[in-house]
Amino acid sequence: MRAVSSVAARRWLWLAALATMPVPFYLGQPEWAPVLRLAFLTSLFTAVMVAEGGRTVFLFGTLGIVQTAVYTGLFYLAARLAARGVARIGSPPMQVAAVGTAVFLLVASSLLPIYQTPLSSTRMRSDLWHLFE
């Protein structure tokens, strides 16, 4: 079995974390949800900001962009560290298993309603499938 490259491990872990790992953020109300949802909500505010202007949407849009950038950067660094750890595992099958298990656990837990989403119009607690309603 081929070993997982450090770059590939980093990308898988990074993307999985961005899509599933709950983080606290604030966009009018505090939420615990993945960075992907934060980016999605930010894009909605940004769309209104572009179309309409206005102090409040500018404030929330900027707040969203800053938080998205910070979490994206932090997760990148964390994924890089994790990828280095994976590289130290000598056996290629074990490397694949380690990355696969981490991604699987993240995705599996995201299918439970672990996210607090008071900005959602349909549910206070959401799972991955309902994050973008």
């Binding site: 505010f45 209104v48 179309a51 309409e52 929330f60 119009s121 549910r123 206070m124 607690r125």
Partner: protein, 640 residues
């Protein structure tokens, strides 16, 4: 013996008072009311109700129309969200006792915007804002609510499209009020046309006011905070578009949630100019704003222990933040400013009167719900469904949690003493401030001030003697009849009788709150005049069973022992019930939460065990004040 000898005198007084009671001048066509009491009756109602035409109601799923809200107030059941795909409601609520009056007061700022966003093919329907409003309404709540002026681009030049579209909801509100108003001789139910002017300043510091019109003569377009940016602008608009333009048109403006105003609601400067009050401003403010809503869904605004008072009862239904920003962001939480509270403002008004000769804060008190479900008068603690608005969004299914933020409450009622249940009679009473507020229970509560009341005043002729020898709540006490005279306050309260499956709760104690000016500053005294704070009554917070006895009636006369005829003063009364379970305790118990067993505290129910919030409440009522002014060349309106 003595009693029988004076009885004929009081009967004669009662007849005199009845004969002297003015007939209600009609500003509208309607049948004369069969029930007309010259000594006036307490009419219970709600003057703060939101339906689907308010952004913060529609974005959390409320579908109630104004006509449905009025039907609910008259006792009909109402279905609430969450709705099934076939439109079947997930919950149904109804009032055990209908109200006597109500006003739907939707936020006027976005009538047109919401109308366009909900009408396929309308200008702006496909705009970014409307797409987000329909697709992610909770998100839209934040940026649309805070928009203000200028209007959104999809409203067209000068907001023309939105202003025009706003006529639709406004027309429906007026038609619903007209259809529900009982103009027959039965006078069963009165409606008022009204709306909410929704202005905030700084970081969500609340200056919101409800506008209640006397009758069906109302402006074509309500003045909103988009166009009328300050309270002064709102009064200008009412003068220009109502009083000065439409025959019979009149309105009262009722501020609310001063508890969330960051100190701005009763600030000593005009908002428009930033200048200190003048006598002209004070006169205008008192004339436009004769009432304040002291109690509602988002808290009690009377007073707060530690914020300028040591009153031990100033701990009930208080919000832990100073403005709305604190509700949504822990970083914006500040302790409430003492100026947020009506008691502080009433005292400040006396100080203003000393300086200006006019009191800008000569206001009476009412309560209401501020429901955002379109459910006027829904004040029961047991089974409280939340009132929505800035509360918890319900979504597709009822959340497994408290249905309102724990700091909120079911709100209160407005009570009006009037001869009959008609618009003119009730509106006159609003203007003369003969009103009181309750936290929900239908407590009957009267207060008169005079110079010669004594213990014998607490008889069957209480009201007749009160009107004949004194002034009622909201009034102004005249000059002392002789040197050494002191005001006597006669207060009387009956508990809410309740209904068969929810009997009323006995009263605990009756108090007089006196405010006066001495050495240029306001002072306060709180005096128990009847009842017993240590009556031993309690409540089992596990079962919500009440224990112990209380009063089936409280009546007392209090003579002010420290009266100084040279000092400005006011007096109001407060009555409290025995303790009962708070809404959150009913809900937490029903959910099986036991704070001593961590395994029962599910996610979403943690607030049940937050010691910052009490498990019990002492429901209460407050009368409007009665003022006393030293006789001088100052203006002191003697009532209307």
């Amino acid at each position: 013996m003595r009693r029988s000898s004076v009885l004929p005198v009081w009967l004669a007084l009662a007849l005199l008072a009845a004969a002297a009671a003015p007939t209600t001048l009609r500003s509208e066509e309607r049948a004369a009311c069969t029930v007309r009491d010259p000594l006036r009756r307490p009419w219970f109602g709600d003057l703060h109700v939101h339906t689907r035409y308010s952004l913060d109601a529609s974005t959390q799923g409320t579908r109630t129309r104004p006509s449905e809200a009025y039907a609910f107030a008259r006792g009909e059941p109402l279905g609430l969200h969450p709705f099934s795909e076939r439109g079947e409601p997930g919950r149904t609520v109804s009032l055990a006792r209908p109200l006597d009056f109500a006003a739907v007061t939707d936020h006027s700022e976005l009538f047109g915007e919401l109308s366009l966003c909900n009408t396929p093919g309308a200008p702006g329907f496909d705009s970014t804002v409307c797409v987000i409003y329909r697709g992610w309404p909770r998100l839209a709540f934040f940026f649309m609510n805070a928009r203000g002026a200028p209007r959104f681009a999809f409203c067209g030049e000068d907001g023309r499209e939105c202003i025009a579209a706003g006529r639709g909801p406004w027309r429906e509100m007026r038609e619903a009020a007209e259809a529900a108003y009982d103009r027959s001789a039965a006078c069963r139910f009165t409606t008022f046309v009204g709306y909410e002017w929704t202005k905030s300043v700084e970081t969500a510091s609340n200056l919101h006011r409800n506008v209640i019109f006397r009758n069906a003569a109302v402006p074509e377009i309500p003045a909103s905070a988009v166009d009328a940016l300050t309270p002064e602008d709102l009064w200008d608009a009412l003068d220009a578009e109502c009083r000065g333009k439409l025959p019979g048109c009149d309105a009262v403006v009722i501020p609310h949630n001063s508890n969330l105003s960051g100190g701005f609601m009763f600030a000593p400067e005009e908002l428009r100019s930033g200048q200190p009050f003048t006598a002209a401003y004070a006169r205008r403010r008192a004339g436009n704003e004769p009432l304040v809503e002291v109690m509602q869904h988002k808290g009690d605004s009377e007073c707060r222990l530690g914020a300028g008072t040591t009153d031990e009862l100033c701990t009930s239904e208080l919000l832990p933040y100073d403005t709305f920003a604190g509700r949504f962001s822990p970083f914006a939480r500040r302790d409430p400013d003492p100026r947020n509270f009506t008691r502080t403002a009433l005292g400040a008004g006396l100080v203003h009167q000393v300086k200006l000769g006019v009191n800008p804060f000569r206001f009476g008190l009412i309560g209401s719900t501020d429901t955002h479900l379109g459910t006027p008068g829904l004040i029961e603690e047991r089974g409280y469904p939340g009132h929505g608005g800035a509360g918890i969004p319900i979504g597709e299914t009822l959340p497994d949690s408290l249905l309102d933020p724990i700091e909120y409450n079911p709100g209160g009622l407005a009570v009006i003493w009037a001869e009959e249940n008609s618009r003119d009679a009730l509106f006159d009473a609003l203007q003369r401030r003969e009103t009181y507020a309750t936290t929900g229970p239908r407590i009957a509560f009267r207060l008169f001030a005079g110079w010669d009341f004594d213990a014998s005043s607490c008889g069957a002729d209480f009201a007749a003697r009160g009107y004949a020898e004194g002034v009622p709540m909201g009034g102004e006490l005249g000059a002392p009849p002789a040197p050494g005279s002191a005001p006597t306050l006669a207060a009387w309260a009956l508990p809410d009788p309740g209904v068969a499956d929810a009997p009323g709760v006995p009263l605990q104690r009756l108090q007089i709150i006196k405010l006066w000016v001495e050495d240029g500053a306001a002072h306060e005294a709180v005096v128990d005049i009847a009842g017993d704070a240590a009556n031993g009554a309690g409540v089992d917070t596990n079962s919500c069973e009440t224990t112990g006895a209380g009063a089936a009636q409280l009546c007392a006369v209090w003579r002010d022992p420290d009266f100084d005829p040279g000092e400005h003063a006011l007096y109001y009364a407060r009555v409290v019930q025995n303790p009962t379970c708070r809404w959150s305790t009913f809900a937490c118990n029903a959910a099986g939460v036991r704070c001593e067993d961590a395994s029962t505290i599910r996610a979403g129910w943690e607030a049940c065990c937050d010691d910052a919030y009490p498990k019990t409440v002492q429901e209460r009522a407050w009368t409007s004040p009665i003022w006393y002014s030293p006789q001088s060349n100052e203006e002191s309106p003697r009532g209307r």
